[in-house]
């Protein structure tokens, strides 16, 4: 039933209003006298050397990609886990094969060193 989600919708509106209100109060209640030193990005007392949007390690991308695969897997497992008491051997075997294929991929990633951080 979709009506059960109504409280969540109201809660969402409430939370958005609350969070914006907090920030508005912060702007209103706090002082505001900016100067260029205060507003410069924090970097141990130096002037920033270069733009902070620098290159970063490609492994962060790799983790994100792996995450998508495994999160999808979890999304597949959720409905399966709920009905596991009713689907019997066929369901169990189907999921076992699916997990096995994924495990092969996982072992491949592992051996390729995609999970190494050093």
């Amino acid at each position: 039933m979709l009506i059960e989600y109504l409280p969540i919708l109201i809660f969402l509106v409430f939370a958005l209003i609350f969070a914006s209100l907090m920030i508005s109060v912060g702007f209103a209640a706090g002082p505001s006298n900016p100067d260029s030193e205060k507003n410069s990005p924090y970097e141990c007392g130096f002037d920033p050397f270069e733009d902070s949007r620098m290159k970063f390690d490609v492994r962060y991308y790799l983790v994100a990609i792996l995450f998508i695969i495994f999160d999808l897997e979890i999304a597949f497992l959720f409905p399966w886990a709920v009905v596991i008491h009713e689907i019997g051997l066929t369901g169990l075997l189907a999921m076992a094969i699916f997990l096995l294929i994924l495990t092969v991929g996982f072992i491949y990633e592992w051996k390729k060193g995609a999970l190494e951080w050093d």
């Binding site: 409280p7 409430f14 920030i23 507003n39 924090y42 949007r53 497992l77 076992a96």
Partner: protein, 342 residues
């Protein structure tokens, strides 16, 4: 008229959840400083009010009256919205948490899915905050933090799948009910490895010690929220502690029977019959919150590669094997994994 009345009821329920939640967050921060203080043979906050009990309130007033500094290189709009994006989902998850036998704001049938979806939204807050600050510390902190959160979300998701298999439902109320029968019927026993992994992954998800490399005050100063000040910082802080309490309450709901009495089925049951379910749930949750604080006082910080290794190479295989094992156990109706009645 009817709809107006029910809207009013919903609003009252929301207030009933939010106000105590903020008070609890305030006093978790107080007890954190107090407990860690005592563990390190200090006194902790003791000046404001008796035993320093008014300290959190003083903190709130201080944070509210501080200037909100927006760095000159920052993307202003994203910079301001990031704390909102962080706070809103961590508030919203509380709408599906069953706080007692009857009190739950939205008793939806996809409770766990909802929780998983909304807790993972906080990654956006982290990334946007780190990116929009245009500061190197913030950027590095947010990269680390995001990679860590998503890595442990896998382990956590698998642990949840284990609970679902045992309970056969996504509804949190039904998950609690399927554990009824006393202390040894709760899922911590049949799903013990998943429970441990869930809790450790929860500690990592909330970026708490010993997995707090994203904050790493000795190298990254404060991680992704280093450029935030005043109330914008307070929103991050609030979200972090609400997530901490959420992980604790979810651990007690999914592995320790939620509001069920621990004496169910023993001779002690009638003596504790008068204790409302909410008290049991709170006690269990407080124990987990205490463990969070205890960990922070005791353990040194992990190295980042160790964290990633633990998440991918230890937790993921263990959960996979355990889910496989559990599936076989359920298929052959072997107790205690098959305690499912419909």
């Amino acid at each position: 008229m009817q709809t107006l009345h029910s809207l009013y009821n919903i609003l009252v329920d929301i207030i009933l959840i939010v106000i105590p939640l903020f008070l609890i967050v305030a006093y978790v921060t107080y007890s954190e400083r107090k407990i860690i203080g005592f563990m390190q043979a200090r006194l902790g906050p003791s000046r404001v009010g008796p035993y320093g009990l008014l300290q959190p309130i003083a903190d709130v007033i201080k944070l509210l009256s501080k200037e909100i500094i927006i760095p000159s290189g920052a993307n202003k709009n994203i910079f301001i919205t990031a704390p909102i994006i962080m706070l809103v989902p961590s508030l919203l998850v509380w709408s599906v948490i069953p706080l007692s036998e009857t009190f739950v704001l939205a008793n939806i049938n996809a409770g766990i899915l909802f929780i998983l979806a909304f807790t993972s939204l906080s990654v956006y807050g982290v990334i946007l905050a780190g990116w929009s600050s245009n500061s190197k510390y913030a950027f590095l902190g947010s990269m680390r933090s995001a990679a860590q959160i998503i890595a442990y979300e896998i382990a956590m998701g698998f642990a949840l799948v284990g609970v679902l298999m045992a309970a056969g439902s996504l509804n949190l109320q039904e998950i609690i009910l399927s554990q009824s029968g006393g202390f040894f019927h709760w899922y911590w026993l049949p799903l013990f490895p998943l429970f441990i992994i869930y809790f450790i992954a929860g500690v990592a998800e909330t970026n708490r010690a010993p997995f707090d490399v994203s904050e790493g005050e000795s190298e990254l100063v404060a991680g992704f929220h280093v450029e935030y000040s005043g109330i914008t910082f307070a929103l991050f802080f609030l979200a972090e502690y609400m997530n901490l309490i959420l992980i604790s309450i979810l651990a007690s709901i999914m592995f320790f029977g939620g509001w069920l009495s621990p004496f169910q089925g023993t001779w002690l049951e009638i003596f504790f019959d008068w204790v409302p379910g909410f008290i049991w749930l709170s006690l269990k949750t407080l124990i987990f919150i205490f463990i969070f604080l205890w960990l922070r006082a005791t353990l040194p910080r992990y190295r980042y590669d160790q964290i990633m290794r633990l998440g991918w190479k230890v937790f993921l295989p263990i959960t996979l094997i355990w889910i496989f094992f559990e599936g076989i156990m359920i298929y052959y109706n072997i107790e205690p994994w098959f305690s499912y009645v419909k």
